[in-house]
């Protein structure tokens, strides 16, 4: 084809569709981040630990715990501790460390005991963490 191409936009219909998607993603991501920055004041992370189901396996008990951060910033190196108590007496403890628990997010951890946690009082707590 020796015919000279007319000078015009050579972006096809499909490409404009993809470009529109890109624009939407960009506007949404920038808008969301800016909105988040404006509406969320920073503060310390607040870690809440909740017990989920437990499984018995080969004579030991594994308790799944849900670790939620209800605070205003991400916590790193979060240490979770569970203590099995019979009244005031502590029978055994188990601990787990989570690399990161971002704000408003949930992570899972597992604590292992040799005694049945259903028969005793299981006290769960977040020991502490560091700022990332």
């Amino acid at each position: 084809m020796a015919r000279k191409k007319p000078v015009q936009s050579r972006t096809s219909f499909w490409e404009w569709g993809a470009a529109a998607l890109g624009a939407a993603i960009l506007v949404f991501a920038i808008g969301y981040m800016a909105w988040y920055g404006l509406t969320h004041t920073s503060g310390p992370p607040v870690i809440v630990v909740e017990r989920a189901e437990s499984v018995r396996l080969d004579g030991s008990y594994v308790v799944k715990v849900l670790v939620r951060n209800k605070g205003r910033s991400t916590a790193a190196a979060v240490e979770i501790e569970g203590a099995l108590k019979d009244g005031e007496e502590s029978l055994e403890t188990s601990a787990a460390t989570l690399d990161y628990v971002p704000e408003n997010s949930e992570r899972e951890a597992y604590l292992q005991f040799s005694r049945d946690p259903d028969k005793f009082d299981l006290k769960l707590r977040a020991v502490g963490g560091s700022a990332p």
């Binding site: 993809a18 890109g22 991501a29 997010s105």
Partner: protein, 282 residues
């Protein structure tokens, strides 16, 4: 009827062209962003760095991509809107690639907050879209109105290309803990020596060794002219890009000026090599 057939033919032709371009863009996005999608620090950075800095990074990305399309690229766009369309398409491709791969790696899932998911994806859009942009521009196709390497010779274009090359290398290294460890171990004299080594290597790689695709020194240009206009300016640009990335990633917090500069010099070393080889790798 004949006219209609021709129109349909032209349309299917452009659809095919679009799909080929899309495939190339995905390939480029993956090759540039996969190493970072498999870097642990990138996941956590997406979560905890300042949301305004993520927003700013995405804002800066768009003109950078448009610039890449303007100065680089096989496809010589007649309208700047075509460059803009290319840039936005690269962002869409990078975002889709990041969503798919991160979901497969279980790095994004519904139990996570929107902030976490969007933060992780947003950071991966940066390397991914640069890769997608370059792949759309560079892989295959035929060149018109560009020099034999596919790039125009404009000075601004050359500096921009060096910045993108530096950015690409810096992005891959800035998230790691090692960069901080290296900077803290180095003495001030080693920092200064590294800055000179970076400058020297940059100049040698670009103007002396003459890799295919690098800038050959014109006979009429003096050493000092080329060194001052390209190498020094390029290194300064890389240093600024490094500082910007370190700031975005929150790596400069609580550091003294000396430590911050040391980090920037360390990061600019690979950045300078990336900038020097930009024409080769990009």
């Amino acid at each position: 009827m004949a006219g209609k057939d021709a129109a349909v033919e032209a349309d299917t032709g452009s659809t095919r062209e679009f799909l080929v371009g899309l495939g190339r863009a995905f390939a480029g996005a993956l090759i540039f962003s996969l190493p970072l999608m498999m870097t642990m620090e990138m996941w956590s950075l997406g979560v905890y760095i300042d949301p305004f800095r993520i927003a700013l990074l995405l804002l800066v990305l768009l003109p950078l991509l448009v610039g890449l399309s303007l100065f680089g690229g096989i496809r010589k766009n007649t309208h700047i809107v075509d460059d803009l369309a290319d840039a936005l398409m690269a962002i869409a491709v990078a975002a889709v690639a990041a969503i798919v791969v991160l979901a497969m790696f279980a790095e994004i899932d519904p139990s996570m907050s929107w902030r976490e998911i969007i933060g992780k994806i947003a950071l991966q859009i940066v390397p991914g879209s640069i890769g997608a942009m370059l792949a759309q521009n560079q892989l295959g196709g035929s060149a018109e109105d560009t020099d034999e390497y596919g790039f125009s010779d404009a000075y601004g274009g050359e500096i921009l290309l060096m910045m993108v090359g530096g950015l690409f290398m810096s992005l891959n290294i800035a998230p790691t803990e090692e960069i901080i460890l290296i900077a803290f171990k180095m003495s001030t004299w080693q920092d200064i020596a590294l800055a000179f080594l970076s400058l020297g290597l940059m100049h040698i790689v670009v103007y002396v060794v003459e890799f295919r695709g690098t800038h050959a020194q014109h006979p009429e240009e003096s050493f000092f002219s080329v060194f001052a206009r390209f190498t020094v300016v390029g290194y300064a640009a890389v240093l600024l890009v490094s500082l910007y990335i370190l700031w975005t990633f929150g790596r400069l917090e609580g550091l003294s000026l000396e430590q911050a500069l040391s980090l920037a010099v360390v990061l600019s070393f690979p950045g300078a090599i990336g900038a020097a080889l930009a024409r080769l790798i990009l």
